[in-house]
Subunit: 244 residues, 2 copies
Amino acid sequence: MGSVSHTDNGPPPAVTTTARGRAADTSRGEQTRQAIVASAVRLFGEVGYEKTTMRAIAADAGVSVGNAYYYFPAKEALVSEFYLDLQREHLARVEPVLASGASFGDRLAAILREGIAVWSPHHAFAGRFIGIAAVPGSPVSPFSDESAEARALATSIFQRLVDTTEVKMDPQLRARLPQLLWLAQLGLVVYWVHDGTPGQRRTRKVVELAVPYLEYLVGASRLKIFKPLTTRGLTLLDTLWPAG
Amino acid sequence: MGSVSHTDNGPPPAVTTTARGRAADTSRGEQTRQAIVASAVRLFGEVGYEKTTMRAIAADAGVSVGNAYYYFPAKEALVSEFYLDLQREHLARVEPVLASGASFGDRLAAILREGIAVWSPHHAFAGRFIGIAAVPGSPVSPFSDESAEARALATSIFQRLVDTTEVKMDPQLRARLPQLLWLAQLGLVVYWVHDGTPGQRRTRKVVELAVPYLEYLVGASRLKIFKPLTTRGLTLLDTLWPAG
DNA sequence: ACAGCAAGTTGAACACGTTCAAGTGGAGTG
DNA sequence: CACTCCACTTGAACGTGTTCAACTTGCTGT
């Protein structure tokens, strides 16, 4: 409190801050920001989260420690940049999968497999990352406002998958399925992080088993006998996670 | 490395270290240990995890900072003592519930409600706690070796619940149900931690809705039409979490 | 008694994340 | 050109968790 030189400290407004990303900005500040992000992402990937010190990031980016804190409120905030990087790659890999005319199950499995493939090199790091993501207030939490965009992006993948599938299912389930699949993916990630088998082999096995099971369940939802199961499940989901 | 005075630093062997707990030990070391735990647990509960410094814990316990580290490898390790405290209370509250002749659903709901009640005063703290518990290597992780005893204790509650219920169900499901319920409880805790509604009202609502649903599902498992659903689900579970 | 020894204890020191008062520089204005 | 202003930058300093070499204490065997 009581800074004289500028009344409000926080991320700079810059030239053109579009709703998503900050593509068109070549100002000095943005260049510095990018340099810090680049160093942080590289070092996180190379030596892990803990061993990467803020001093090392700053030195690598050619700036002072304090300067890094001008752009990012905490070391944790830099993690979300790392996260975004990987999510962008996942999205790129998933695009051709969605476009392919493969079945619901095959495409779902492919989406999950690509996600694992993208994260695979950072399995150890992810262990620390999940610890940060799990705490409610954290901006990296999958439920946080800050993650709203990333969350929407992820669900949109499943939305497109559901919209372009020929599988018959309960219409109410169809409306909620993208979110359910996102939740399932979240669970898979948690499982993957804790998977100590070499190459996370077991997680891959789980995908191969769980996807056909899900496909079976989804298809079963339109049968009369499964109606109460479906309806009550959706009611529960609506309490758990209202709105749509 | 190269301490002269003692060859091995780590928790002291003490007089009688029983497999579970360390009940019968009144040696000097154990008294110090207890004092540190008492101070830590109290301070964690009063001012939260972050705001409780190791210096404060040591001062409150009347020992030096270094001495606290003689008994506990890290601040995180003290959290598990706090956790154990609450779990013991949960167990005590659950005992009469199990003994009551109430239905499967009513007793399950009561068990979950008591768990929430025990943790309720520490909702804010739990947010930080889950961040520690979520990281794979952590001794506080519900999947860690260190938590094996606590895990066994928790599943034993559900084991007793399942063993004393009159509800008819698939026998293979019955064998796995205690572990499934433990998993469900884990999920509930994660949900509760992220529940920002006043008094975690929504989590309580979820319990009221989810328990009858579970009861319905369990009962349905013995029907022929649900066999493939049950069997495939159990196969998946066996991949996810082998052994019994 | 007394030496020997290990459990127990100490507090200074270290590295880290984070903060902040004090600068610097370059674009806009007269 | 000089002046002002503010986005940007700096590095020392703070509080934290953690480590460690040195010290103290009480027991055990002789």
